[in-house]
């Protein structure tokens, strides 16, 4: 990621350490992950120790310090989805993609994450692919939905 772009994002808020998480969120949204140079730049501009930024970047779920796949799969593991069979949907996704939650496949095609509630409990079990919600999923439909992505 371009350092000038990191500076622009920081300037949106002002170089104040209380905006650290907001700045990192914007970098994450724009770049899909947090490259080390970007973090170093943020540390320098906001005058926050890099060790603290590294803790933040690995503490919160929204952040990733490694590149992510082209398609992002979120399987909801919220309670409502859980009692309606979310584990079966997750199993089906793992079966189809060969990756576990938190992983990205080698071709950078899919990244898989579990999330704790997407607030669509009426549609459970729910999964999202690239932000599009798929509701009332069965293992068979899950595999089908994944086949439509390349």
């Amino acid at each position: 990621m371009d350092i000038a772009r990191v500076d622009q994002i920081i300037d949106r808020y002002g170089a104040d350490e209380s905006y650290l998480i907001q700045v990192l969120l914007d970098i994450q949204t724009e770049n899909n992950w947090l490259p080390h140079e970007a973090l170093e730049r943020v540390a320098e501009r906001l005058r926050v120790p890099l060790s603290r930024i590294l803790h933040i970047a690995t503490f919160y779920k929204a952040f990733s310090t490694v590149p992510k796949g082209r398609h992002r799969i979120h399987v909801c593991m919220g309670t409502a989805c859980h009692v309606r069979g979310a584990q079966r949907v997750l199993d089906a996704v793992q079966e189809a993609t060969g990756i576990k939650p938190g992983e990205t496949d080698l071709e950078l095609k899919f990244s898989l994450e579990t999330v704790n509630c997407l607030g669509c409990c009426a549609l459970g079990p729910v999964m999202e692919i690239d932000g599009k919600t798929y509701g009332k999923m069965t293992p068979a439909e899950t595999a089908e939905a994944l086949r439509n992505h390349d």
């Binding site: 120790p49 890099l50 060790s51 590294l54 803790h55 690995t58 503490f59």
Partner: protein, 200 residues
């Protein structure tokens, strides 16, 4: 600063206002075990081993003595059957990670903790944060920090800073209650920093 009088294990103790129960007890020679406490550092309250019972106005609760402030008329009990149980289980949880650490073994003996009660996950680090906090608060170098959270949390050296600072300092090594830190550093050092750079 005015003085506060309280009772610890039946003994009348005076302590300055703003002191913690731990400091008051230490001043009176009453031992309370700690793992994450260091007098030069801000209280961290993570190891929970210094848990004591405080009673005020008839209300009892368990608190960590390294953070809880003294108060006039406070009654403190540092050893009750519940506290023994809490410390024993906490030690057993730690021993799953660092079963051979001498300090943990000594404490385990005192509290009757079984080092084999839980499945071993030898990570050696018990997350007391002494190294991280000492480096940040006393040395102001931030060469070592935490990464990740929850059960995945661990300590990690920041290579660029560690290469510059750690070689000549190493003051955090003796603080580590499991003596693991030194090994971690040596490993990072071996992998990441060429010898010449350290000498320079």
């Amino acid at each position: 600063m005015s003085e506060v009088r309280l009772q610890i294990d039946g003994q009348e103790v005076a302590a300055p206002e703003g002191a913690t129960v731990l400091e008051a007890a230490q001043g009176a020679g009453i031992p309370i075990p700690t793992l994450c406490h260091h007098e030069k550092l801000e209280p961290f309250g993570s190891c929970r081993l210094c848990t004591v019972e405080v009673e005020r106005g008839g209300r009892k609760q368990h608190v960590v003595s390294c953070v809880y402030p003294v108060a006039e008329g406070l009654t403190v009990r540092t050893r009750t059957p519940e506290i023994e149980r809490i410390r024993r289980v906490i030690l057993e949880l730690y021993l799953a990670h660092a079963p051979e650490a001498p300090r943990l073994k000594a404490l385990a003996e005192e509290y009757g903790a079984d080092k084999d009660r839980f499945g071993k996950e030898s990570s050696f680090c018990i997350h007391c944060g002494l190294c991280v906090r000492y480096c940040a608060e006393v040395k102001k170098k931030h060469a070592v920090g935490f990464i990740n959270r929850g059960t995945k949390k661990e300590i990690a050296f920041v290579p660029d800073i560690a290469a510059r600072e750690c070689w000549k300092c190493k003051e955090c090594f003796p603080l580590c209650p499991t003596s693991w830190l030194q090994a971690a550093y040596v490993l990072v050092e071996g992998i990441l920093f060429p010898r010449e750079e350290q000498q320079a």
